[in-house]
């Protein structure tokens, strides 16, 4: 008998965890602070050095990490429903591939980070439109058709990425690789990501009961009165936008969008009214912790945060997969 925790318990667990993760991110780094000192800074006091460290360096980055983690987890949950496939992630339809080609192109040219981000965003949305129009073809699109189209387009982007890496000048290779593995050191302006995250979640929540039905298949959902085509389109566009914003700021950070929705389904059930807010919090927590590790493990060197999420995500996912096989 699967044990499901209630909405209240879920948030009673996740909210303090989110606070603790943020506090940890603000306290650790080249100069370690204790929680009291961090809280003093947040309250408006504290030494000048501490204020600079916390408010100008660590806070924007931690906030960016949280928003990106939330966006990726949310996009992953949506993609899994859209494709009716628990193994889908935000990147499965080639959004990150398109973004990577744009971003790497800019990095090759030595462009400023604003242009790298803009090119990533443009590439992501371009890839979304490409996959959508190709999958639509003649007649409607089914999850399988969309998935196949997306995977093939993603493979195409993959080849282009390899080509760019092969042609790239030595000087920019390192930053290109970091971008590909996910890197939050550009993430200094969390405003846009937070805006999209909050508005996106607020817009999706009223539809979460519809998502519950959609997860059982197009026909079943339509038989129960859900306007499936409009909903599918909305989910697809929302998930693509979330992913585009996330990769624009952090590169293609893996595993958050795949693993977090699974963790939440196994603990809180698949009801999207719990799942959607839950994955936002859990995704944010995971990425804040992963980024804190990435900054501090080999300090002063920074690791790409995508490597850390993979280190956490791979064993976790294998464990979950193993567990689910025994129950099916």
């Amino acid at each position: 008998m699967p044990h499901r925790i209630s909405l209240t318990v879920l948030f009673a667990l996740l909210l303090p965890l989110a606070g603790a993760a943020m506090l940890l991110a603000l306290a650790t780094g080249s100069v370690s602070l204790d929680p009291a000192e961090v809280l003093a800074v947040l309250a408006g006091d504290g030494e000048l050095l501490h204020r600079t460290l916390v408010l100008e360096l660590r806070l924007p980055r931690a906030l960016t990490a949280f928003a990106i983690g939330g966006l990726l987890a949310l996009a992953g949950a949506l993609m899994q429903v859209l494709l009716r496939n628990p193994l889908a992630d935000p990147y499965v339809l080639g959004v990150s591939g398109g973004a990577a080609v744009g971003a790497l192109g800019m990095l090759m040219l030595g462009a400023a980070s604003f242009w790298v981000g803009s090119a990533a965003f443009t590439g992501a949305l371009g890839s979304t439109l490409l996959v959508f129009s190709l999958a639509h073809g003649r007649g409607g699109w089914t999850p399988t058709r969309l998935l196949l189209t997306g995977v093939v387009v993603a493979a195409g982007w993959g080849a282009l990425i390899s080509l760019l890496l092969a042609l790239g000048p030595d000087g920019s290779l390192r930053s290109m690789l970091f971008w590909l593995m996910g890197d939050l050191s550009y993430g200094t302006s969390p405003g846009v990501a937070w805006l999209v995250l909050v508005l996106g979640l607020a817009a999706l929540l009223p539809f979460s009961r519809h998502l519950n039905l959609l997860a059982r298949g197009d026909l079943q959902a339509r038989a129960l009165g859900v306007p499936v085509q409009r909903l599918n389109l909305g989910i697809y566009l929302a998930a693509s936008l979330f992913t585009a914003i996330a990769v624009m700021q952090g590169g293609s950070i893996g595993f958050v969008g795949l693993v977090i929705p699974h963790m939440l389904r196994l603990t809180a059930g698949a009801d999207h009214r719990r799942l959607l807010p839950g994955v936002v919090l859990a995704g944010g927590i995971l990425l804040v912790l992963a980024d804190t590790l990435a900054r501090t493990l080999l300090a002063p060197r920074q690791l790409p945060v995508g490597v850390v999420t993979a280190f956490i995500g791979v064993p976790l996912f294998l464990y979950l997969l193993n567990r689910s096989r025994s129950s099916v």
């Binding site: 009961r209 519950n212 997860a215 339509r222 129960l224 009165g225 306007p227 698949a270």
Partner: protein, 255 residues
């Protein structure tokens, strides 16, 4: 007033004719069986009646209201469809699954009310699933999953109930119990039950009317005792059929 009225309905699938210019009036309070071989379009017909696919032509009305004017949600409040199979890619409990049947009756901003929960639990009890309400759907047997799908349809509480091979995966106890329940829903609550069946004897026992689908677009509709003849069944299934008459029932057997 007829529960389901079809005018000039033409349905084709992959170039094959399912029905041509069909006029049909199905009254509430009746149980109607749809019989025919594999691939004659029973499922296609049921899906068309539920609005899941468009007809080539013709009009449909539910209780006198034009189908198009009802909207998807309006249709789902009046008409429930049991599909041939279910897909559960994600974990969910039995109760959660049954509750999705309440979706058309729950307002956009609302959560399931205690009433919805009561209706879903009643449906689970009717189908003998009450003791399993906390189980994950992935842990159910094929027959249990089927009974859960039937419970979901019952929870939808629609006046028109379309069932696509409802009892083929069930043991004989649950076949009898659930078909009797649907017959009772028709008689006592004047609902229309339209179901495709492969078991001619179950159709003879539980259906007031039958529709035979011959696969070339021709349909034969009428009172069960008039339409279920050896001649019609031999034509329908292309095998010799023997009829056995007892004092209170008709039986058919491949001859």
């Amino acid at each position: 007033m007829s529960a389901l009225a079809l005018r000039n309905l033409t349905v084709r699938i992959a170039g094959k004719s399912v029905c041509e210019n069909l006029d049909l009036d199905l009254a509430p309070g009746r149980v109607i069986g749809v019989l025919g071989g594999n691939g004659v379009g029973k499922t296609t017909l049921l899906h068309t009646l539920a609005g899941l696919r468009d007809a080539e032509g013709g009009r449909m009305a539910l209780f006198g209201e034009a189908f198009e004017s009802l909207g998807r949600r309006g249709v789902a409040q009046r008409l429930a469809l049991l599909m041939q199979d279910q897909d559960d890619p994600f974990p969910a409990t039995v109760l959660e699954t049954c509750l999705i049947g309440r979706h058309p009756h729950i307002g956009f901003w609302q959560w399931e009310s205690p009433d919805d929960l009561r209706i879903a639990r009643d449906a689970l009890r009717t189908t003998g699933m009450a003791s399993l309400e906390h189980r994950d759907v992935h842990e159910l047997s094929g027959g249990e999953r089927r009974r859960l799908a039937i419970a979901t349809v019952l929870a939808q509480d629609a006046r028109i109930i379309l069932l696509d091979e409802p009892v083929d995966q069930l043991d004989i106890f649950h076949q009898m119990k659930l078909l009797a329940h649907f017959a009772r829903l028709a008689v006592e609550e004047s609902r229309l039950v339209l179901m495709s069946l492969h078991d001619v004897n179950m159709a003879a026992r539980f259906c007031d009317e039958v529709i035979l689908m011959f696969g070339d677009g021709e349909l034969l509709h009428g009172e069960t005792y008039k339409v279920l003849t050896t001649a019609n069944l031999e034509r329908l299934y292309r095998i010799p059929v023997r009829m056995i008459v007892t004092e209170d029932a008709l039986f058919f057997q491949p001859g």
